[in-house]
Amino acid sequence: MITIIDYNAGNIKSVQRACAEVGVQAIVTSDPTTVAKAEKIIFPGVGAAPSAMEYLKKTGLDVALVKAFEGGIPILGICLGAQIILDSSEEGNQKCLGLVAGKTVRFRIRDKLLKIPHMGWNEVKAVQPHPLLDGIQPGDEFYFVHSYYPQPADKKDVYAVSSHGGDFCAALGSRNLFAMQFHPEKSGPLGLQILERFARWNGTLTG
């Protein structure tokens, strides 16, 4: 059973529906005690870092998430959930959860033909192996909608990149945590496969 954290940051029902499509049971909750008992956590989210952090702190979900991470519970971050796991975000100069060292930064693009938000289908290239990216092929594309992206301090935490006026981190990971800037729930069959792999993942680099 997967626990999807609802912290008032966008429509998380789409993640639950995508799990159902691949036969994975998932519940949606904003209750920190439910999160504390979770076997597996998806941390999705769309929106701005400051209001998201405010809500997480107010509800105690921030503490529950940190504890789950420290307790080795497999966690999958998506979009905003891949950004606020870092130390801080440029969006409102917000201090974030600090599960992974680094910072979320805004696209700085000189080319006027490249638009922000970065919205649409783009290729994701794995830069090192990870169980959740197992089987990803050159040319595989995923759906993005964002103006900020995660920038881990240590390059060894970067697992995949995409390109928009230069390479940026599209997926990062640390121990039992893996997170992606794109939306697996809106990326067709290839995205659903990532959710399937997460359902089987034991939280280590080998399985």
């Binding site: 529906r17 499509e21 769309v46 970065h118 919205m119 783009n122 909608v145 067709g188």
Partner: protein, 259 residues
Amino acid sequence: MLSKRLVVCLDVRGGKLAKSIKFVDTKDIGDPIAKARQYYEDGVDELVFYDITASRENRDIMINFVEEVARQIFIPFSVGGGIRSVEDATRLRNAGAEKVNVNTAAVKRKELISEIARAIGSQSTILSMDIRKVDPTQEMPSGYEIVVNGGVTPTGIDGLWWAKTGEELGAGELVINSIDADGTKDGYELNLTRMIADSVGIPVIASGGAGKPEHLYDVLTEGHADAALVASIVHYDEYTCRTLKEYLHNRGIKIRLNY
């Protein structure tokens, strides 16, 4: 680099798929959800559902319809037709639509665009425009006029001005539908599409006139569009999404082929 997108539009009337020729004489051609699922599996990049009846009584039917679509397809889709308020937009978005399309109601009250963009974000707010060619005048220097109510009522509003205004008000994307080209299968209105795409900083989806794969290639290159919208050429099985995308790929267009 972002890929170009193939978008399929499904006109929905009372839960049935309808196809209009030049906006009149619509006929039902099947179950839109089954069709949507077929296109999803065949690699369409995005879907648009247009509620062509768009009456208030139909609003709840449309919400249920959107929820069912969201259970069946796992790519972005948008919904349009009769969206008159922030509440309409928010409900459709919460039901599972990634984006909403506004058209006539925004022409009548342009603040609606900024209100919806504030509520659900610019990236989820699409301004759809039905446009026809006219002789350039002082009021309409671009030579294109906005028409509303399903393409039947002229407004005297300049098409290019409206596109730029829509962007300023917070629309995150534009659908440019040429009602002259719509249903003709003679190709997109390239001049119109390029004129608008070159004047705004947001993505442009070209609509109206697709009859063969070359037309998509032309509008994505010469027409400077980010996405090409098709309807009848896939609804009647003349082409599949896959064949259209392979054609574009073989001619050097970056488009998603792995799925």
